[in-house]
C-alpha cells in the first residue's frame, strides 16, 4: 500500500496548491448565467481572478464582498447583503455562488443564517436568482475540495428532493475539476452516441470554451449547466461521478433523490474507459457504436507505438489527489515508474491507491527535491522553475497553466484522450533525447 507522508517543513516553498474558494468559483463558473462571489477582502478575489484569466484567457466573472477593516471587526453580513443586491441589479444573474474565504471564516460567522435572513428580507429583489453558499476557508484544502463543496452545495440547495419519475435515457454526470473543456465535450458526445441524454454538472465546456458571444457583452457566464437542469437531476436513471472528490455530492444526490451513482476514479486509460463504455452500454441497452470501437482500436495502436517511450522512464508528479491518481495510473500503465508523487492533502481516500511507493503531502519545493534523476516532471505551470533548474522537461497539467495556450482544449480522457496523452508524452521524450556519445556509453565510465 502507498505510504502517505505528511508535510514536514515550516514554510511551504513554491506552493502546489491554489486556494479552496478558487476551486469553488471554478465550479460555479460551470453554471449558466452565474457569478461567483468571494466573501472576503478584495485581494482574495483579485488574485483568484487574475489566475483564472491567465489560465483560460477569457474574461471571468468573479466578484467580491470587499471586506474592509471595519467589516472585519464588526462582521460582514452588511457587505454580503450589499454585494448580492448590487450583483442582482447590475447583472441579473441566474445564480450567485457565494464562496467564503479564510478572512470571514476565521471570524466564525454563521453565514447560512445570514444568507437566509438576507434572502428573507429581500425576497422580492432577489427573485429569479438562486444564491448558493459554499464554505471554503483558504486554510483548508485546495481546488479539489472547493470544487466538491460547491457542487454539493448546488445539489443541496437547488435539486428538487424526493423520488421522481425516472427518465430511462437520462444520466447525471458529476464531473471532477480535473476534466478539461475538451474532456467534457468529448464525454457528452460519447454518452450521446449511446442514445443517452447526459446532464453534466458542472459544465465548463459551455462557459469557458473560448467562444465569442454574439455582439453583446455578457457580465455573467454564458453557457454551462442550467439551474433548471440542476433542479431536475432527480429524474436521471443513473448518476456517474468522476473522481473520488465527487463522491460526497453523488452521495448527497442519492440521499435526496434516490438516484444511484457509479464512481469512476479516472476515465483515462484503456481499462477504465472499457468499464465506462460497458456501463453506458448496459444502461442504454445499445451496443458500442462503430466510432467508439474505432477509437479503441486507435488507442491500442497508440499503446503499441508509444510504449517504447515510456518503459523504465522515471516520472515525478505533483498534483491534487484525484489528478495524481489519474496520471500516475496512466504512466505506470504504460511501463513508467513514479519516482516522486507530491500532493496537496493527506485526507483523500484515493491516495492509498496511487501506484507509487509513497505520496508526499507538500509543495513544488518538495517535488524539486525528490525529482533529481527523473526523466519527466508532471505538474502545473509553476513547475517551470524546478524544470529549468533540474534540466528536466515539464509536462503541464491541471491548474494553473498560464504559459501555454489551449490547455482547456486538451483531451485527457477515454480512448481518444488517452491516445493524445501517450503522444504528448512520447513527443516530449523524443524532443529531449540525448544523442549517444563515446563518454556516455563507455563501459568503464565512472
Amino acid at each position: 500500500m502507498t505510504r502517505i507522508l505528511p508535510q514536514t517543513k515550516w514554510a511551504a516553498v513554491n506552493p502546489l496548491k491554489s486556494s479552496q474558494p478558487l476551486g469553488a468559483a471554478l465550479a460555479f463558473l460551470g453554471i449558466d448565467g452565474a457569478i461567483p462571489l468571494f466573501h472576503g477582502s478584495q485581494g482574495c478575489t483579485s488574485f483568484a481572478l487574475v489566475l483564472l484569466v491567465r489560465h483560460f484567457k477569457e474574461a471571468v466573472p468573479l466578484q467580491t464582498t470587499a471586506m474592509d477593516e471595519m467589516a472585519t471587526i464588526l462582521g460582514g453580513m452588511d457587505h454580503l447583503e450589499e454585494a448580492l443586491l448590487n450583483l442582482k441589479t447590475r447583472t441579473n444573474p441566474k445564480l450567485i455562488g457565494v464562496c467564503t474565504t479564510a478572512l470571514v471564516e476565521t471570524r466564525g460567522e454563521d453565514f447560512a443564517r445570514d444568507l437566509a435572513n438576507i434572502k428573507m428580507m429581500h425576497a422580492k429583489e432577489l427573485a429569479g436568482t438562486e444564491v448558493v453558499l459554499a464554505n471554503t476557508p483558504d486554510f483548508h484544502g485546495a481546488i479539489e475540495e472547493g470544487w466538491a463543496q460547491a457542487v454539493t452545495a448546488l445539489i443541496q440547495r437547488i435539486t428538487l428532493r424526493g423520488e421522481r419519475v425516472r427518465q430511462s435515457k437520462k444520466i447525471a454526470i458529476l464531473s471532477g475539476w480535473n476534466l478539461t473543456v475538451a474532456d467534457i465535450e468529448h464525454l457528452r458526445e460519447t454518452v450521446e452516441s449511446f442514445g443517452l441524454k447526459p446532464v453534466i454538472l458542472p459544465d465548463l465546456s459551455g462557459s469557458l470554451d473560448g467562444t465569442v458571444p454574439d455582439d453583446r457583452w455578457v457580465p455573467t457566464t454564458y453557457g454551462g449547466t442550467t439551474v433548471k437542469d440542476i433542479q431536475k437531476l432527480g429524474t436521471a436513471v443513473q448518476c456517474i461521478a468522476i473522481g473520488e472528490h465527487m463522491r460526497p455530492p453523488a452521495e448527497v444526490l442519492q440521499k435526496l433523490t434516490g438516484v444511484p451513482y457509479a464512481l469512476f476514479h479516472s476515465l483515462t486509460g484503456l481499462k477504465d474507459t472499457d468499464r465506462f463504455v460497458s456501463l453506458l452500454s448496459s444502461i442504454s441497452g445499445a451496443p458500442s457504436p462503430a466510432i467508439i470501437r474505432r477509437r479503441r482500436a486507435q488507442l491500442q495502436d497508440a499503446l503499441l507505438d508509444g510504449h517504447f517511450h515510456f518503459g523504465g522512464k522515471k516520472i515525478a508528479i505533483a498534483a491534487e489527489p484525484d489528478q495524481l491518481y489519474q496520471l500516475a495510473t496512466f504512466f505506470t500503465g504504460m511501463g513508467a515508474d513514479i519516482i516522486a508523487a507530491v500532493t496537496t492533502t493527506a485526507t483523500s481516500h484515493i491516495l492509498k491507491k496511487v501506484p507509487a511507493e509513497q505520496v508526499h503531502v507538500g509543495d513544488l519545493g518538495d517535488l524539486e527535491g525528490l525529482a533529481a534523476g527523473a526523466d519527466l516532471l508532471v505538474t502545473h505551470s509553476h513547475g517551470r522553475q524546478a524544470a529549468e533548474r533540474l534540466g528536466i522537461p515539464l509536462m503541464r497539467v491541471g491548474f494553473p497553466i498560464f504559459d501555454r495556450l489551449g490547455s482547456q482544449h486538451k483531451l485527457t480522457i477515454l480512448y481518444q484522450g488517452t491516445r493524445d496523452l501517450i503522444f504528448d508524452v512520447a513527443n516530449i521524450v523524443q524532443a529531449n533525447r540525448h544523442a549517444p556519445t563515446p563518454e556516455s556509453l563507455d563501459p568503464f565510465r565512472k
Binding site: V13, P15, S19, Q42, P213, H382
Partner: protein, 500 residues
C-alpha cells in the same frame, strides 16, 4: 491609536502629493482610499500592493505569513526582470492550516519558517508579510521579526500590510514605509561618488530599465539603487548615500521619495521614461540635480549632446511608421496616463487619441488632456465593460491600449489591443522603448487575423454559395480520389514487405 492605523494616517496625509495638496483639511483627513462597493469592486488589496513594490528585490526571500490563498494564487506572476539572483521568484509561505489558526500556532510557525529559509537559502535578508488572517488572529509579526533578526543574525523585515486595511496603492506606500523603517540607511557604502542616483518606483518590467540604464552609463551616472526593479538588498540598504533621485511611479512611492529627501537630503523630481520628450527631460533633470549637488557642470553639456543624438535617431525611426499609422484612432484605457509624452509622441506621427480614462489623473492632468485632445468629450472617468464593448464593437477606435483587466473586452469586440500595464511582454521605456511601442501598435493593427475574425461565416451571407456547395461536382471528385488511394494500396504493402 494602534501603530498601523497611525502609519496609514501618515501615509494618506502626503504633503508631496499634488492631489492631496489640492484638498481641503476635511477631505484630507478622509485619506485617499475610496470606499469599495461590495459586488462591484475591482483591484488588489494592500498586501498585493506591498508585494508588488518589494518583491522585485531579487536576492531577498519573501515570506508570506498567511493561509494558501494570498501567495498560492499569486506567486511568480509579474514581469519584473532580474539580471542575476532568482530567489525573489521562489515562493515562501507559512501556508496556515485550520489547526494553526485554531491552536494559535501562527507566530511559532513563522519563526521556524524564518529559520528554515535562513538555513536552506542563506539570503541577505528575509521580508515577512502579514495578511488578513494573521492580523486578525493577532500574530505580532514585528516582534517575531525582531526576535528572529537577533537570533539568526540577518535582517528580517516586517511588512505589515493586511489586505483589509485598504487598496493596492495604500500597500505600495506602506511598503515604502517598511523600507524606510527597516532597510534604507542600515548599510554604509564604501564607494560613494557625486554621480550616484536613485531611481524610485521603477519596476524593470520586461527588463525595460535596461533600455535606459545604458544612457545613464554613457553619461557616467551611476544608479546607486533602482527601487525595486532588479535591486539587491545591499543596494537598497545603502540607497541613502545617493546624491539625487528620480521618482518614476509617483502614486506608488511618493512618501519614500519625500522622506528620503527630509532624512538624507536627497533631492528628487517626478519624471517618466515613457515617451521621447519625457525621457530627455528626465535625463536633463538628473544631470541638473547632480550638478547642483556637486557633480562637474560639464555633465549638463554632455547630457544635451546625448539627448540631441538619441532624439534624432528615435524620431527618424518613428517617422517610418507615419504612412502606416497616420489617422489611426487609439483608445487609452488605463488608470491614468502618467506620461503625456507618450501621447505626444503618438500624436506627433499622426495617431489620433479618441478617448482616455482620467480616473487616476489630477486636476492638472485633466487640464493638460483637454489642451492636448481639444475635446473634453474624449475624457471618461471609468467605462462599464458593457459600454466599452459597445464603443469598440461600433468601430470607434482602431486599437485599445490598456491593462489585462479590459483585454478580453477588446478582443471579444474583435478590436486590436495592446497591453501597456504590468503584465506586458515588451519593454517600452526610453527612446528605443517608444519606438518599440509604436512598432507593437503597428503590428497589432495590421495583423491579418482582424479581417478573418470579422468576416461572417459563409452560412451567414451569400446564400448562393451555400446552395452550390453540396453540388454533384465535388462529390465525383471525392469518390474519384478515394478510388485512386485504394488502387495504390497493394503497392504500398508490397513495399513494406520488401523493406522488412
Amino acid at each position: 491609536m494602534p501603530p498601523l492605523t497611525a502609519k496609514i494616517q501618515d501615509v494618506f496625509d502626503e504633503p508631496a502629493c499634488e492631489k492631496n495638496r489640492g484638498k481641503d483639511a476635511k477631505a484630507r483627513q478622509k485619506g485617499c482610499s475610496k470606499p469599495l462597493t461590495p459586488g462591484a469592486a475591482a483591484g488588489g488589496c494592500a498586501f498585493d500592493g506591498a508585494k508588488i513594490v518589494l518583491q522585485p528585490i531579487t536576492d531577498v526571500a519573501h515570506l508570506i505569513h498567511a493561509p494558501i490563498a494570498c501567495e498560492g494564487n499569486s506567486w511568480d506572476n509579474r514581469g519584473a526582470a532580474s539580471s542575476g539572483p532568482t530567489l525573489w521568484r521562489t515562493s515562501f509561505t507559512t501556508d496556515l492550516t485550520e489547526l494553526d489558526v485554531v491552536m494559535g500556532q501562527g507566530e511559532r510557525k513563522l519563526f521556524k519558517a524564518i529559520r528554515e529559509i535562513k538555513e536552506t537559502y542563506a539570503p541577505p535578508a528575509i521580508f515577512v508579510y502579514s495578511t488578513c488572517v494573521t492580523a486578525l488572529i493577532g500574530d505580532d509579526i514585528e516582534a517575531v521579526c525582531k526576535r528572529a533578526s537577533e537570533k539568526f543574525g540577518l535582517p528580517v523585515v516586517p511588512v505589515n500590510t493586511p489586505g483589509f486595511v485598504g487598496s493596492k496603492n495604500l500597500g505600495n506606500k506602506l511598503a515604502g514605509e517598511a523600507l524606510l523603517d527597516h532597510v534604507i540607511g542600515t548599510v554604509e557604502p564604501d564607494d560613494v561618488s557625486p554621480y550616484d542616483i536613485n531611481i524610485l518606483g521603477e519596476f524593470n518590467l520586461s527588463g525595460e530599465f535596461w533600455l535606459v540604464k545604458p544612457l545613464l552609463d554613457r553619461l557616467g551616472i551611476r544608479v546607486r539603487a533602482c527601487i525595486p526593479g532588479d535591486a539587491r538588498y545591499l543596494d537598497v540598504a545603502s540607497a541613502h548615500r545617493a546624491r539625487a533621485a528620480m521618482m518614476v511611479c509617483s502614486t506608488a512611492l511618493i512618501n519614500l521619495a519625500r522622506k528620503m529627501e527630509e532624512r538624507w537630503d536627497i533631492p528628487f523630481f517626478e519624471g517618466s521614461f515613457y515617451g521621447i520628450s519625457d525621457t530627455s527631460e528626465a535625463l536633463r533633470q538628473i544631470a541638473g540635480l547632480l550638478v547642483k549637488k556637486g557633480a562637474g557642470p560639464e555633465l549638463l553639456e554632455r547630457t544635451e549632446t546625448l539627448i540631441a543624438e538619441e532624439e534624432a535617431i528615435a524620431w527618424k525611426k518613428l517617422e517610418a511608421y507615419r504612412p502606416r499609422l497616420e489617422g489611426k484612432r487609439v483608445l487609452l484605457n488605463t488608470g491614468g496616463v502618467k506620461s503625456w509624452s507618450v501621447v505626444h509622441a503618438l500624436m506627433e506621427i499622426g495617431i489620433e487619441i479618441v478617448g482616455t480614462s482620467v480616473k487616476k489623473s489630477t486636476a492638472e492632468d485633466k487640464e493638460r488632456i483637454k489642451r492636448i485632445l481639444k475635446d473634453e468629450n474624449h475624457m471618461f472617468e471609468t467605462m462599464a465593460p458593457r459600454d466599452l464593448y459597445a464603443v469598440l464593437s461600433e468601430d470607434k477606435a482602431d486599437i485599445m491600449l490598456s491593462g489585462g483587466r479590459t483585454q478580453f473586452i477588446a478582443l471579444k469586440a474583435k478590436t486590436p489591443w495592446l497591453d501597456i500595464n504590468q503584465e506586458r511582454h515588451h519593454p517600452y521605456a526610453g527612446y528605443a522603448g517608444m519606438v518599440e511601442l509604436v512598432r507593437q501598435i503597428d503590428l497589432a493593427i495590421y495583423n491579418p487575423i482582424w479581417r478573418q475574425v470579422r468576416e461572417p461565416a459563409p452560412w451567414e451571407y451569400q446564400p448562393a454559395v451555400e446552395e452550390e456547395l453540396p453540388g454533384t461536382h465535388s462529390k465525383t471528385e471525392t469518390v474519384h480520389a478515394f478510388k485512386k488511394v485504394v488502387a495504390q494500396l497493394p503497392a504500398v504493402s508490397a513495399y513494406v514487405e520488401e523493406s522488412r
